[in-house]
């Protein structure tokens, strides 16, 4: 189609409903993956702090798994759960866990030893120390991990179109690439990038609001 323009506005206008639905799907898949991934990572991190011998294997496993190409990971879960949302989420959650476990652990390790010692010496119980002292201090590092995990997941969701899911990936792959239709590719890609940037900025804002004390660190 040589006289076809790169972007056909009329197609966009005609398909606003479809585009909106895919965008919504993309957001939902991302949110599910990040929330479940965070819960699992948090539990794992607490476990590692309890049983220090777990630290090395957990970190090694997350390091190795992170290097597995995303496409291969999707292919790996297919035989078990088929072309389903579940397959997509299993793979997505795995990636977020790999990223978040490290950040939660690094965050908790960033609590200065004198601060922990003071907390123990002043009569905090172990759980009061975790919730009132260590987690709040770890928050900036944990949110940094959430930002990386969220941006990564938003990118990966498009890949799940290959197993019949995909959110904005459906526009890019199924309509765009398979049918040689550039407008859909542009719309999908631009929305995906905008979503990633928006999520990143929003999380950063939330972190700044939650940690007013970290701003004046220079003093």
């Amino acid at each position: 189609m040589p006289d076809e323009p790169l972007i056909r506005l009329d197609w966009i206008v005609d398909n606003l409903g479809e585009i909106g639905r895919r965008l919504g799907e993309h957001i939902v898949m991302t949110v599910i993956a990040v929330i479940i991934g965070f819960v699992i990572s948090f539990a794992l991190a607490l476990l590692v702090r309890r049983y220090h011998s777990l630290a090395a294997p957990v970190l090694a496993a997350s390091g190795v798994l992170y290097t597995v190409p995303s496409l291969a990971l999707f292919a790996l879960v297919l035989p078990f759960t088929g072309l389903s949302l579940l397959s997509a989420e299993i793979a997505l959650v795995s990636y977020t866990v790999l990223i978040l476990v490290r950040n939660v652990l690094t965050g908790l390790d960033s609590v200065p030893p004198d601060v922990s010692e003071a907390a123990v010496g002043m009569g905090f119980t172990a759980s009061q120390r975790l919730w009132r002292i260590e987690l709040p201090i770890a928050l900036p590092v944990i949110v940094a991990g959430l930002r990386i995990a969220t941006v990564t997941t938003i990118g990966l969701v498009t890949v799940t179109s290959l197993i019949g899911q995909g959110g904005l990936g459906y526009l890019i792959v199924t309509i765009g690439i398979n049918q040689f239709f550039s407008t859909a590719i542009y719309v999908g890609a631009i929305l995906s990038v905008a979503l990633a940037i928006g999520a990143d900025v929003a999380l950063l804002r939330i972190q700044k609001a939650l940690t007013p004390w970290a701003r004046s660190r220079a003093g």
């Binding site: 200065p112 004198d114 601060v115 922990s116 010692e117 003071a118 907390a119 123990v120 010496g121 002043m122 009569g123 905090f124 119980t125 009061q128 002292i133 709040p136 201090i137 928050l139 940690t211 007013p212 004390w213 970290a214 004046s216 660190r217 220079a218 003093g219």
Partner: protein
């Protein structure tokens, strides 16, 4: 009252005990300084009071109650704890940091707020200014002060202080020490204070426990008694060859009868100033002060010759100023290194209250040894 009764701490895997058969009693309201070289178990000893470390054998008691018989968390909330790195919680404001233990003890909010303001006032941090600051916005000295009042928040009878002034520079350390002694005179806590610095021990202590390697108590006595009569060669070496001079650290400027200065103000007629100086005879210098009686410098008798107003430009600046709680050692040192060998003693507002001279300090030293406070 805190008592150690045959307390031994042995870490698994090491033959030498860290603390051996310690027995001594700290009377209520006194500062007991644990001092000794590294490896002498002073911090271990302190931490056995709030069970951060638990004794292998023997008993630590507070007012007769074995600390091991109380839940560790309850015990710790009743004991103030200050560490060298302060350990302020970076995500909490100054007020929230100070309120930590009262909150753990579930005090009412209004009571907590009043207590926080009272404590900040006590160490000269204006509550309106400092309440909402974060630790990162404080200077080192301010952080140290907040750390100290945080430990006092729930009004514990016993406080543990692990090298609390170790991380600040010598000038600020001296000021913090003086401030703390002034505070302690009001609150009268029973304090276990750890340091490796003999001079700090001599300055802060009502009693010093000198520990040697393996946590063996080498001597437990008042600073003056230890300096006058070291119990062993180890103690003698540890306190240093200059222990005679160190006794100077025990005397305070306030123990010396002060000399009334001849005060002059800028612009006042030289004639009247000169007459006042001549009437006194004893000293050759008049002290120039500002309108709030803060010292500006010395005016030589010769610069008061003739008529006309007193010229502030003729003043020799650099008069060393001392607080009433400055040690005689610091006073002497400041005077010896200044051009005019008189020390100017000022109050908290830097207003002049009197002068000390080398002669006056000498008189105090020649007098018979004053007995250190025994309760």
């Amino acid at each position: 009252m805190v008592a150690f009764d045959h307390v031994t701490k042995r870490y698994s895997g090491s033959g030498e005990p860290a603390v051996s058969e310690l027995t001594f009693t700290i009377p209520a309201g006194e500062i007991c300084v644990l001092v000794g070289p590294s490896g002498s178990g002073k911090t271990t000893t302190m931490k056995m009071v709030n069970r951060l470390i638990e004794p292998t054998s023997g008993r630590v008691t507070i007012d007769g109650t074995d600390v091991m018989s109380l839940p560790a968390v309850d015990l710790r909330r009743r004991i103030g704890y200050v560490i060298q790195q302060v350990g302020l919680f970076p995500h909490l404001t100054v007020a929230e940091n100070v309120a930590v233990v009262p909150r753990l003890l579930r005090w009412k909010e209004q009571r907590i707020r009043d207590r926080v303001d009272e404590l900040l006032d006590l160490v000269g941090l204006d509550p309106a200014t400092y309440r909402r600051r974060y630790p990162a916005e404080l200077s080192g000295g301010e952080r140290q002060r907040v750390g100290v009042v945080r430990a006092m928040a729930a009004d514990p009878a016993v406080m543990l202080m692990d090298e609390p002034f170790g991380a600040v520079d010598p000038i600020r350390r001296d000021r913090l020490q003086n401030e703390f002694l002034r505070l302690q005179a009001k609150v009268r806590k029973t304090i276990v204070f750890v340091t490796h610095d003999v001079d700090e021990a001599i300055k802060m202590a009502d009693r010093i426990a000198i520990l040697q390697k393996g946590g063996i108590l080498a001597q437990y006595d008042t600073p003056d008694a230890i300096l006058a009569q070291p119990a062993s060669e180890f103690v003698e070496r540890f306190v240093g060859a200059d222990r005679g001079l160190k006794r100077l650290s025990l005397g305070r400027v306030q123990d010396v009868p002060l000399i009334e200065p001849v005060i002059v103000h800028a612009g006042e007629p030289r004639g009247t100033a000169r007459r006042r100086l001549e009437e006194r005879g004893e000293i050759d210098y008049a002290l120039l002060v500002d309108e709030r009686r803060r010292p500006l410098g010395w005016i030589d008798r010769r610069d008061l010759a003739g008529d006309g107003p007193v010229d502030p430009a003729a003043a020799t600046p650099g008069a060393p100023t001392l607080g009433p709680e400055s040690t005689l050692r610091d006073a002497l040192s400041a005077m010896l290194s200044s051009s005019v060998q008189l020390g100017v003693v000022v109050d908290e507002r830097d207003a002049v209250i009197g002068l000390v001279s080398v002669d006056r300090i000498g008189e105090v030293l020649r007098a018979p040894v004053t007995a250190a406070p025994v309760s």
